[in-house]
Symmetry: C2
DNA sequence: TTCGGAATAGGAATGGTTACTGATCGGAGA
DNA sequence: TCTCCGATCAGTAACCATTCCTATTCCGAA
Protein backbone atom coordinates (compact mmCIF):
# COMPACT_ATOMS: atom_id res chain seq x y z
CA UNK A 1 0.00 0.00 0.00
CA UNK A 2 1.88 3.06 -1.21
CA UNK A 3 1.09 6.26 0.61
CA UNK A 4 -0.29 9.05 -1.50
CA UNK A 5 2.36 11.55 -2.46
CA UNK A 6 2.11 15.16 -1.41
CA UNK A 7 2.41 16.03 -5.06
CA UNK A 8 -0.58 13.87 -6.01
CA UNK A 9 -2.66 15.54 -3.37
CA UNK A 10 -1.87 19.05 -4.56
CA UNK A 11 -2.38 18.04 -8.16
CA UNK A 12 -5.77 16.50 -7.55
CA UNK A 13 -6.96 19.50 -5.63
CA UNK A 14 -5.66 21.88 -8.25
CA UNK A 15 -7.36 20.07 -11.08
CA UNK A 16 -10.66 19.76 -9.25
CA UNK A 17 -10.94 23.40 -8.36
CA UNK A 18 -11.43 22.62 -4.68
CA UNK A 19 -9.07 24.22 -2.19
CA UNK A 20 -6.74 22.23 -0.01
CA UNK A 21 -7.67 23.60 3.37
CA UNK A 22 -6.19 22.70 6.72
CA UNK A 23 -9.32 20.77 7.65
CA UNK A 24 -9.19 18.68 4.52
CA UNK A 25 -5.53 17.97 5.10
CA UNK A 26 -6.31 17.04 8.69
CA UNK A 27 -8.92 14.56 7.49
CA UNK A 28 -6.35 12.96 5.20
CA UNK A 29 -3.87 12.75 8.09
CA UNK A 30 -6.52 11.19 10.29
CA UNK A 31 -7.24 8.55 7.68
CA UNK A 32 -3.55 7.77 7.56
CA UNK A 33 -3.38 7.63 11.33
CA UNK A 34 -6.43 5.39 11.67
CA UNK A 35 -4.87 3.01 9.18
CA UNK A 36 -7.91 0.76 9.00
CA UNK A 37 -11.32 1.67 7.70
CA UNK A 38 -12.60 4.42 9.97
CA UNK A 39 -16.09 5.86 9.94
CA UNK A 40 -16.69 9.58 9.59
CA UNK A 41 -17.14 9.72 13.35
CA UNK A 42 -13.79 7.98 13.90
CA UNK A 43 -12.10 10.48 11.62
CA UNK A 44 -13.87 13.32 13.39
CA UNK A 45 -12.58 12.18 16.79
CA UNK A 46 -9.01 11.95 15.54
CA UNK A 47 -9.11 15.34 13.84
CA UNK A 48 -10.68 16.82 16.96
CA UNK A 49 -7.68 15.85 19.07
CA UNK A 50 -5.57 18.42 17.26
CA UNK A 51 -8.28 20.88 16.39
CA UNK A 52 -11.15 20.76 18.88
CA UNK A 53 -13.16 23.28 16.88
CA UNK A 54 -13.76 21.11 13.80
CA UNK A 55 -17.37 20.27 13.09
CA UNK A 56 -18.58 16.81 12.24
CA UNK A 57 -20.28 18.25 9.18
CA UNK A 58 -16.95 19.55 7.97
CA UNK A 59 -15.49 16.06 8.19
CA UNK A 60 -18.37 14.68 6.14
CA UNK A 61 -17.95 17.41 3.57
CA UNK A 62 -14.19 16.90 3.44
CA UNK A 63 -14.56 13.16 3.00
CA UNK A 64 -17.03 13.69 0.20
CA UNK A 65 -14.65 16.07 -1.59
CA UNK A 66 -11.72 13.72 -1.07
CA UNK A 67 -13.74 10.89 -2.50
CA UNK A 68 -14.87 12.95 -5.46
CA UNK A 69 -11.32 13.85 -6.45
CA UNK A 70 -10.14 10.28 -6.02
CA UNK A 71 -8.04 10.44 -2.88
CA UNK A 72 -10.42 8.40 -0.76
CA UNK A 73 -12.76 5.51 -1.27
CA UNK A 74 -15.92 4.79 0.73
CA UNK A 75 -17.78 1.60 1.45
CA UNK A 76 -21.06 0.95 3.08
CA UNK A 77 -22.24 -2.10 4.97
CA UNK A 78 -25.80 -2.20 6.23
CA UNK A 79 -26.28 -1.61 9.94
CA UNK A 80 -23.04 0.29 10.14
CA UNK A 81 -21.87 3.76 9.22
CA UNK A 82 -19.97 4.26 5.97
CA UNK A 83 -16.27 3.44 6.17
CA UNK A 84 -13.51 5.39 4.45
CA UNK A 85 -10.28 4.13 3.00
CA UNK A 86 -7.11 5.64 1.51
CA UNK A 87 -6.81 2.61 -0.75
CA UNK A 88 -8.64 3.73 -3.87
CA UNK A 89 -7.70 0.73 -5.99
CA UNK A 90 -10.60 -1.66 -6.61
CA UNK A 91 -10.42 -4.26 -3.86
CA UNK A 92 -12.58 -6.23 -1.49
CA UNK A 93 -13.05 -5.55 2.20
CA UNK A 94 -14.80 -7.77 4.68
CA UNK A 95 -16.54 -6.54 7.80
CA UNK A 96 -17.00 -8.63 10.92
CA UNK A 97 -20.69 -8.81 11.71
CA UNK A 98 -19.90 -9.12 15.38
CA UNK A 99 -17.10 -6.68 16.25
CA UNK A 100 -17.29 -4.42 13.19
CA UNK A 101 -13.62 -4.65 12.26
CA UNK A 102 -12.88 -4.36 8.56
CA UNK A 103 -10.00 -5.93 6.69
CA UNK A 104 -8.90 -6.38 3.15
CA UNK A 105 -9.37 -9.50 1.07
CA UNK A 106 -6.39 -9.77 -1.25
CA UNK A 107 -6.08 -11.77 -4.41
CA UNK A 108 -9.62 -11.69 -5.75
CA UNK A 109 -9.89 -10.87 -9.43
CA UNK A 110 -12.66 -8.33 -10.04
CA UNK A 111 -12.04 -7.22 -13.59
CA UNK A 112 -14.05 -10.01 -15.18
CA UNK A 113 -17.04 -9.31 -13.01
CA UNK A 114 -17.15 -5.64 -14.00
CA UNK A 115 -16.90 -6.60 -17.64
CA UNK A 116 -19.55 -9.26 -17.34
CA UNK A 117 -21.89 -6.77 -15.70
CA UNK A 118 -21.44 -4.23 -18.47
CA UNK A 119 -22.08 -6.90 -21.06
CA UNK A 120 -25.36 -7.98 -19.51
CA UNK A 121 -27.21 -4.77 -18.77
CA UNK A 122 -28.49 -1.93 -20.94
CA UNK A 123 -27.75 0.46 -18.08
CA UNK A 124 -24.66 2.61 -18.16
CA UNK A 125 -22.84 1.24 -15.13
CA UNK A 126 -21.30 3.90 -12.91
CA UNK A 127 -20.43 2.04 -9.74
CA UNK A 128 -20.18 -1.49 -8.43
CA UNK A 129 -19.67 -2.01 -4.73
CA UNK A 130 -19.23 -5.34 -3.05
CA UNK A 131 -19.93 -5.65 0.67
CA UNK A 132 -18.65 -8.86 2.21
CA UNK A 133 -19.69 -9.74 5.73
CA UNK A 134 -18.53 -12.49 8.03
CA UNK A 135 -16.98 -13.39 11.32
CA UNK A 136 -13.36 -12.49 11.97
CA UNK A 137 -11.02 -15.16 13.33
CA UNK A 138 -11.36 -13.97 16.92
CA UNK A 139 -15.15 -13.64 16.80
CA UNK A 140 -15.59 -16.96 15.03
CA UNK A 141 -14.94 -18.96 18.16
CA UNK A 142 -17.19 -16.93 20.45
CA UNK B 1 -39.30 -16.36 -11.97
CA UNK B 2 -41.31 -19.10 -10.32
CA UNK B 3 -43.72 -17.91 -7.68
CA UNK B 4 -43.22 -19.32 -4.25
CA UNK B 5 -45.59 -22.16 -3.52
CA UNK B 6 -48.12 -21.92 -0.74
CA UNK B 7 -46.64 -25.13 0.58
CA UNK B 8 -43.12 -23.67 0.76
CA UNK B 9 -44.43 -20.71 2.68
CA UNK B 10 -46.22 -22.81 5.27
CA UNK B 11 -43.23 -25.13 5.55
CA UNK B 12 -40.74 -22.33 6.12
CA UNK B 13 -42.91 -20.73 8.76
CA UNK B 14 -43.49 -24.02 10.50
CA UNK B 15 -39.81 -24.87 10.65
CA UNK B 16 -38.80 -21.42 11.84
CA UNK B 17 -41.24 -21.28 14.71
CA UNK B 18 -42.67 -17.97 13.52
CA UNK B 19 -46.37 -17.77 12.90
CA UNK B 20 -47.87 -17.05 9.52
CA UNK B 21 -50.10 -14.12 10.38
CA UNK B 22 -52.38 -12.17 8.10
CA UNK B 23 -50.01 -9.22 8.16
CA UNK B 24 -47.05 -11.31 7.11
CA UNK B 25 -49.10 -12.87 4.35
CA UNK B 26 -50.21 -9.42 3.25
CA UNK B 27 -46.58 -8.33 3.02
CA UNK B 28 -45.82 -11.32 0.80
CA UNK B 29 -48.82 -10.47 -1.38
CA UNK B 30 -47.68 -6.87 -1.63
CA UNK B 31 -44.23 -7.96 -2.74
CA UNK B 32 -45.84 -10.08 -5.42
CA UNK B 33 -48.07 -7.20 -6.45
CA UNK B 34 -45.23 -4.69 -6.60
CA UNK B 35 -43.31 -7.08 -8.84
CA UNK B 36 -40.16 -4.98 -8.85
CA UNK B 37 -37.94 -4.16 -5.92
CA UNK B 38 -40.10 -2.18 -3.53
CA UNK B 39 -38.89 -0.43 -0.41
CA UNK B 40 -40.48 -1.09 2.98
CA UNK B 41 -42.49 2.08 2.49
CA UNK B 42 -43.74 0.88 -0.90
CA UNK B 43 -44.83 -2.41 0.66
CA UNK B 44 -46.46 -0.52 3.50
CA UNK B 45 -48.53 1.58 1.13
CA UNK B 46 -49.73 -1.46 -0.79
CA UNK B 47 -50.63 -3.39 2.35
CA UNK B 48 -52.39 -0.33 3.71
CA UNK B 49 -54.80 -0.25 0.77
CA UNK B 50 -56.43 -3.45 2.03
CA UNK B 51 -55.77 -2.99 5.71
CA UNK B 52 -55.47 0.68 6.67
CA UNK B 53 -54.62 -0.19 10.24
CA UNK B 54 -51.23 -1.80 9.58
CA UNK B 55 -48.26 -0.05 11.09
CA UNK B 56 -45.06 0.65 9.20
CA UNK B 57 -43.13 -1.03 11.98
CA UNK B 58 -45.09 -4.20 11.41
CA UNK B 59 -44.07 -4.20 7.78
CA UNK B 60 -40.42 -3.82 8.74
CA UNK B 61 -40.72 -6.63 11.24
CA UNK B 62 -42.53 -8.86 8.76
CA UNK B 63 -39.91 -8.22 6.08
CA UNK B 64 -37.17 -9.05 8.53
CA UNK B 65 -38.87 -12.32 9.47
CA UNK B 66 -39.50 -13.20 5.84
CA UNK B 67 -35.88 -12.54 5.05
CA UNK B 68 -34.69 -14.60 7.98
CA UNK B 69 -36.66 -17.65 6.91
CA UNK B 70 -35.55 -17.31 3.32
CA UNK B 71 -38.69 -16.12 1.56
CA UNK B 72 -37.39 -12.66 0.80
CA UNK B 73 -34.08 -11.08 -0.07
CA UNK B 74 -33.01 -7.54 0.69
CA UNK B 75 -30.53 -5.23 -0.95
CA UNK B 76 -29.22 -1.88 0.01
CA UNK B 77 -27.89 0.91 -2.16
CA UNK B 78 -26.51 4.01 -0.52
CA UNK B 79 -28.72 7.08 -0.55
CA UNK B 80 -31.80 4.94 -0.96
CA UNK B 81 -33.95 2.84 1.33
CA UNK B 82 -33.43 -0.93 1.38
CA UNK B 83 -35.23 -2.79 -1.39
CA UNK B 84 -36.92 -6.16 -1.00
CA UNK B 85 -37.23 -8.96 -3.51
CA UNK B 86 -39.05 -12.28 -3.76
CA UNK B 87 -36.18 -13.62 -5.84
CA UNK B 88 -33.95 -15.20 -3.22
CA UNK B 89 -31.55 -16.83 -5.68
CA UNK B 90 -28.15 -15.11 -5.85
CA UNK B 91 -28.39 -12.56 -8.62
CA UNK B 92 -27.40 -9.04 -9.50
CA UNK B 93 -29.64 -5.99 -9.49
CA UNK B 94 -28.78 -2.57 -10.81
CA UNK B 95 -30.30 0.65 -9.54
CA UNK B 96 -30.64 3.78 -11.63
CA UNK B 97 -28.86 6.61 -9.85
CA UNK B 98 -31.28 9.08 -11.37
CA UNK B 99 -34.79 7.63 -11.21
CA UNK B 100 -34.19 4.90 -8.64
CA UNK B 101 -35.64 2.05 -10.68
CA UNK B 102 -34.10 -1.35 -10.04
CA UNK B 103 -33.80 -4.18 -12.50
CA UNK B 104 -32.13 -7.51 -12.70
CA UNK B 105 -28.87 -8.25 -14.47
CA UNK B 106 -29.10 -11.77 -15.85
CA UNK B 107 -26.31 -14.02 -16.97
CA UNK B 108 -23.52 -13.03 -14.60
CA UNK B 109 -21.71 -15.93 -12.99
CA UNK B 110 -21.23 -15.32 -9.27
CA UNK B 111 -20.20 -18.72 -7.98
CA UNK B 112 -16.52 -18.24 -8.70
CA UNK B 113 -16.43 -14.93 -6.91
CA UNK B 114 -17.94 -16.39 -3.74
CA UNK B 115 -15.45 -19.22 -3.86
CA UNK B 116 -12.53 -16.92 -4.49
CA UNK B 117 -13.56 -14.78 -1.53
CA UNK B 118 -13.76 -17.75 0.82
CA UNK B 119 -10.34 -18.90 -0.33
CA UNK B 120 -8.70 -15.56 0.37
CA UNK B 121 -9.92 -14.55 3.79
CA UNK B 122 -9.62 -16.11 7.23
CA UNK B 123 -13.06 -14.73 8.06
CA UNK B 124 -16.07 -17.01 7.99
CA UNK B 125 -18.02 -15.37 5.19
CA UNK B 126 -21.73 -15.03 5.92
CA UNK B 127 -22.94 -12.66 3.25
CA UNK B 128 -21.79 -11.06 0.04
CA UNK B 129 -23.90 -8.32 -1.46
CA UNK B 130 -23.19 -6.55 -4.70
CA UNK B 131 -24.74 -3.18 -5.36
CA UNK B 132 -24.52 -2.03 -8.96
CA UNK B 133 -25.45 1.51 -9.85
CA UNK B 134 -25.87 3.17 -13.19
CA UNK B 135 -28.16 5.04 -15.52
CA UNK B 136 -31.14 3.22 -16.98
CA UNK B 137 -31.77 3.46 -20.73
CA UNK B 138 -34.33 6.24 -20.39
CA UNK B 139 -32.27 8.31 -17.96
CA UNK B 140 -29.07 7.84 -19.96
CA UNK B 141 -30.11 10.33 -22.60
CA UNK B 142 -31.30 13.04 -20.23
C1' DT C 1 -5.28 45.60 0.91
C1' DT C 2 -9.71 44.66 -0.67
C1' DC C 3 -13.28 41.88 -2.31
C1' DG C 4 -16.08 37.78 -3.44
C1' DG C 5 -16.67 33.22 -3.44
C1' DA C 6 -15.54 29.03 -1.02
C1' DA C 7 -15.24 26.71 3.31
C1' DT C 8 -16.29 26.23 8.17
C1' DA C 9 -18.56 25.87 12.93
C1' DG C 10 -22.37 25.05 15.21
C1' DG C 11 -26.57 23.35 15.45
C1' DA C 12 -31.09 22.13 13.60
C1' DA C 13 -33.45 19.09 10.49
C1' DT C 14 -34.11 14.83 7.85
C1' DG C 15 -35.43 10.18 6.92
C1' DG C 16 -35.06 5.35 7.18
C1' DT C 17 -35.28 2.21 10.70
C1' DT C 18 -35.76 0.39 15.37
C1' DA C 19 -37.51 0.35 20.10
C1' DC C 20 -41.09 0.66 23.29
C1' DT C 21 -45.77 -0.17 25.31
C1' DG C 22 -50.16 -1.61 25.98
C1' DA C 23 -53.73 -3.99 23.34
C1' DT C 24 -54.89 -8.04 20.48
C1' DC C 25 -54.37 -12.35 18.38
C1' DG C 26 -53.99 -17.28 17.85
C1' DG C 27 -52.96 -21.86 18.80
C1' DA C 28 -51.85 -25.64 22.37
C1' DG C 29 -53.99 -27.88 25.86
C1' DA C 30 -58.06 -28.76 29.03
C1' DT D 1 -65.38 -25.16 22.57
C1' DC D 2 -63.00 -22.33 26.21
C1' DT D 3 -58.86 -20.57 28.52
C1' DC D 4 -54.52 -18.91 28.81
C1' DC D 5 -49.88 -17.36 27.53
C1' DG D 6 -46.58 -16.04 24.50
C1' DA D 7 -46.23 -14.01 19.99
C1' DT D 8 -47.61 -10.31 17.25
C1' DC D 9 -49.50 -5.92 16.34
C1' DA D 10 -50.70 -0.67 16.16
C1' DG D 11 -49.30 3.53 17.33
C1' DT D 12 -45.83 6.40 18.50
C1' DA D 13 -41.47 7.92 20.28
C1' DA D 14 -36.67 7.50 19.82
C1' DC D 15 -32.38 6.71 17.29
C1' DC D 16 -28.57 7.86 14.54
C1' DA D 17 -25.94 8.58 10.41
C1' DT D 18 -26.01 12.11 7.41
C1' DT D 19 -27.38 16.44 5.30
C1' DC D 20 -28.88 21.13 5.45
C1' DC D 21 -28.84 25.86 6.98
C1' DT D 22 -26.83 30.30 8.33
C1' DA D 23 -23.78 33.48 10.03
C1' DT D 24 -18.88 33.81 10.26
C1' DT D 25 -14.23 33.06 8.67
C1' DC D 26 -10.86 32.03 5.42
C1' DC D 27 -8.23 32.46 1.18
C1' DG D 28 -6.66 33.71 -3.24
C1' DA D 29 -6.97 36.73 -7.17
C1' DA D 30 -6.79 41.38 -8.58
Amino acid sequence: MSSVLEQDIREKFRRSGYTLTSQRRAVLEALKEAKGHPSAEDVYLIVKRKNPRVALGTVYQALSVLEEIGLVDSKHWSESPTRYDLNVEPHLDIRCARCGSVSEIPGVELGELEESIRDNTPYQVTRTTIAVEGLCPSCKGA
